[in-house]
């Protein structure tokens, strides 16, 4: 089963209107999954990661139901049929 990656609707405008992606191959980690995503959707990278390659502080990435910030960050392993969810954090003012 391919890995599915979903992004918030705000970012869809930078991905040709798409908000869900089936990733080619079997990315072993979140980092690999994102690298696969950038190849087709380069406009998403700067909005999800900063220029040092870190996930922006008010963005949460989940593998299944697990937040990667409480796992191994971008090195978090991705099971074969996993769903990766990128969502804005509940913060602001």
């Amino acid at each position: 089963m391919p890995v599915t990656l979903r992004i918030p609707s705000y970012l869809a405008v930078f991905a040709g209107g798409k908000s869900s992606f089936l990733l080619e191959g079997l990315p072993a980690t979140v980092s690999a999954a994102l690298e696969s995503l950038w190849k087709d959707q380069p406009g998403l990278r700067d909005r999800i990661l900063d220029e040092q390659g870190q996930v922006r502080p008010h963005i949460n990435i989940f593998v299944g139901e697990d937040a990667i910030r409480f796992a191994d960050g971008l090195a978090t392993k991705v099971p074969a049929d996993a769903e990766i969810l990128i969502v804005p954090a509940v913060s602001g003012g």
Partner: protein
């Protein structure tokens, strides 16, 4: 979401750019500057700390910095007053990987000299200066400042460690003054290769050593293009003037209710005239005595006079931030300022009288004004003592940086989102 409106400005109109904590607005009036049409908001929901209007080479290009605590900070532009907006697919202002820095915000967008019409500068947080030589398509950090030996000792002010003031010397292509909170004023005389702290005489009230080489919390510096060696400085406590391009500073807080404040604006035609709004203390940070008073000097700081006609003089607990004051280039000049309570006031008579232009905006953090059709050429010089340096047509050329990307049209056109709003 609020409905977005657009202005339609023609040559001879005055436009007012207002950046707020929830988006950007563009206001337009005829030369009378009594009635204003309101365009926006653009970048709805995003803090917009920096705006600029580039009219060089016939452009009519709005620039603003869209900050999102989620998605980062990106420079946006529009050539039709916001009807279509270019938000680059790939962010153009980015730190190089080896810097180990990440952009937090863009605090200042500054156009280059009139004879260098494709040059622009950005002041950012964490404190750094970026430059573009292709009219904003690609940007690079000025490495002489990025790698400054003082950097490890710079500390953030209340708003963050931001480079908020950029003053290219119109008469000396190698010279520029910048200011950082909290690091102070720095000047280059060699096109950005090296930078020297220029804070002699400026007090650092919050440090054990009151007059250090650097570390001052400068809030804003202004100068008049006809006399660039004369600078005025609003400090975190302290009001100063320099007559030697920042080599030394003299206290000019003569007759103001407080020498604390943020904003400062130079008169467009008179190099001796400057406007400020004093704020009562760095604890309270509101207008003294509940009176909203613009103070004006017409003698380079020898004395200041309150300008109050049309401004509330009771229960007006207002704060005006460092970039929330601006002047247009009309004669008589328009003077404008915005408040953290979402009001924008304007004067069309050099500050003699004021009126509220708009109220109910989100907190205002940036105000800029421009006369449409004025290419930005500097007014005639009134003083003959400015230093001139005509050598070198190109300056502030960045050293090669791994962050610089090819200046292809694709970066703007092909890779850009042009959203009709």
């Amino acid at each position: 979401m609020p409905a977005v409106r657009h202005i339609s400005a023609k040559s001879g109109d005055v436009i007012l750019l207002v950046g707020t904590m929830k988006g950007a607005f563009v206001l337009c009036s005829n030369r009378a500057r009594k009635k204003w049409d309101v365009g926006g908001p653009y970048s709805i929901g995003s803090p917009v700390y920096a705006m600029a209007f580039d009219q060089r080479q016939g452009r009519r290009r709005l620039w603003w910095a869209q900050q999102s605590f989620r998605w980062g900070t990106v420079l946006c532009s529009s050539d039709d007053y916001g009807k279509t907006i270019t938000e680059p697919e790939t962010y153009s202002v980015k730190f190089p990987p080896e810097s180990q820095l990440a952009l937090k915000n863009i605090w200042q967008i500054c156009l280059g000299r009139d004879d260098d019409a494709d040059t622009m500068y950005c002041g950012v947080e964490p404190a750094a200066l970026f430059e573009s030589h292709d009219a904003g398509k690609t940007w690079s950090p000025v490495e002489g400042l990025l790698n400054h030996p003082h950097r490890p000792k710079w500390v953030p002010g209340g708003g963050g460690m931001c480079l908020h003031t950029i003053l290219p010397d119109p008469a000396n292509s190698k010279r520029m003054m910048i200011a950082i909170s909290t690091a102070g004023a720095y000047r280059t005389d060699d096109g950005g290769a090296t930078w020297q702290a220029r804070n002699e005489g400026v007090r650092a009230e919050f440090l054990p050593e009151k007059y250090p080489e650097f570390g001052q919390c400068v809030h804003k510096i202004v100068c008049h293009p006809s006399r660039p060696e004369r600078l005025f400085l609003q400090n975190h406590w302290g009001l100063y003037r320099s007559d030697d391009a920042g080599n030394s500073w003299k206290d000019i807080a003569n007759g103001v209710p407080s020498d604390f404040g943020f904003c400062m604006a130079a008169h467009p035609h008179d190099p001796d005239t400057v406007y400020i709004v004093p704020i009562e203390s760095d604890e309270y940070r509101c207008t003294p005595e509940g009176k909203l008073r613009v103070y004006r000097t017409r003698n380079a700081g020898a004395s200041w006079e309150p300008m109050t006609r049309g401004l509330p003089q009771k229960d007006a607990l207002e704060t005006i931030l460092r970039d929330s004051m601006a002047t247009d280039t009309c004669d008589p000049a328009g003077i404008y300022f915005g408040t953290r309570s979402g009001k924008v006031y304007g004067s069309s008579d050099d500050g003699k009288s004021w009126r509220a232009i708009i109220e109910g905006l989100p907190p205002v953090v940036c105000v800029r004004a421009a006369l449409v059709g004025n290419s930005g050429k500097n007014p005639p010089r009134r003083h003959g003592d400015t230093e001139k340096n005509k050598s070198g047509s190109k300056r502030f050329k960045a050293k090669k940086s791994s962050s610089r990307r090819p200046a292809t049209g694709k970066a703007r056109a092909g890779n850009a989102r042009a959203a009709k709003r």
